[in-house]
């Protein structure tokens, strides 16, 4: 079966994510439907993340840049990617082995789709101690999550929506999703788990405080665009 026209570029942005990065990369390399390329953007790490990525060789390649944030790292990878479909993976998450296979099958079933999302299952990071675990909420299993963190998107569709906002610290995914809806992207959310999301952050409290105003701003701006559009 010819693979031309359905090459997948997977992109990982990492900043000081050495603890879980290899697991993330391994999950991409274990795909039943292989990725054409795996681009890791090392966003100025000083914990060896770059070395880990560079240790793999083709189809993994590592781009190093000065610290710019997650959105900048993803945009950098997009600029370097040559696949027909793009997928993103956070450096502490994992793809189930059939992620690319399932999402490509969704495209094959409906070639008019621009982007395919799916379901996510969360897991508590096994290396956490009981104290850290107690601070986390219960993991959700097999729930829909229409977000760039697990999408497979056609290259042209992503370019039409535009890159990720480098002005935001939170709500980057929500902002991109809102713009993708405004751009008229046709999407599907097949009921298949296409991302294993790790829960490990013990500074959720910090995130809560920082998260509120900007998140609300993202939603407000989406409403404003909808009203004038």
């Amino acid at each position: 079966m010819s693979q031309s026209g359905s090459r997948v570029s997977v992109m990982i942005g990492v900043y000081n994510g050495a603890r879980y990065l290899a697991e993330a990369i391994d999950s991409v390399l274990a795909q039943t439907r292989p990725a054409f390329e795996l681009i890791v953007v090392d966003d100025g790490s000083d914990d060896g993340s770059g070395e880990i990525a560079r240790g793999y060789g083709s189809p993994v390649r590592c781009i190093r840049q000065e610290r710019g944030g997650m959105a900048a790292a993803r945009n950098r990878a997009v600029g370097d990617a040559t696949g027909d479909y793009f997928a993103f993976l956070d450096a502490d998450d994992r793809f189930p082995p059939d992620k690319l296979e399932c999402q490509l099958a969704a495209f094959a079933a409906d070639p008019t789709l621009d982007v395919v999302y799916g379901h996510v299952s969360e897991f508590l990071s096994p290396d956490l101690d009981a104290g850290a675990r107690a601070l986390l909420r219960a993991p959700r299993a097999n729930v829909p999550w229409p977000t760039p963190n697990l999408m497979l998107v056609k290259r042209d569709a992503l370019l039409r929506v535009g890159g990720f906002s480098t002005e935001l610290k939170v709500g980057i995914g929500v902002d991109w999703y809102a713009r993708s809806v405004e751009a008229g992207l046709k999407s599907a959310v097949p009921p298949v788990v296409v991302l294993e999301r790790r829960l490990h952050a013990e500074n959720n409290g910090i995130r809560e405080r920082a998260f509120k105003p900007q998140y609300l701003h993202v939603l407000k701006h989406a409403l404003d665009r909808r009203r004038t559009g």
Binding site: S45, A91, G171, V174, N203, R207, F211, K220, L223
Partner: protein, 135 residues
Amino acid sequence: MHETIEGEVMVIDIATGSYYSLRDSGAVVWQGVERGAAEAEIAQELARRYDAPAGEISSAVSRLLGELQAEGLVEQSEDAGPPIVVDGAEGPREPFQAPVLEKHTDMQDLILLDPVHEVDARGWPHPASQGSELR
């Protein structure tokens, strides 16, 4: 969680993933609730700002407060809160449009799964608190 942005009150219900918007007279009602004002005072505030019969304003306020309660965004409390001193000066009043509570459910799945990964002071995704060891 909620915030007033450019005069529009944005509210997110983290539990349901719904988000809401209140503009104009609705925003004024919300701000009254934030201050702990009683329903009558909120209606009074609106009557100062908007040109409409008192009965129309008070029933609109009543209806909106009922909606906000039904959505679980506000609660009725027993205390009326500190009395608001309304100064007598009245500027020109704007035409009254009944307050509307806009409810949006198009982002439910995203909001319900709060973005654990997106902000970090130390590094993203950041290593567990015990320090980052190379694997």
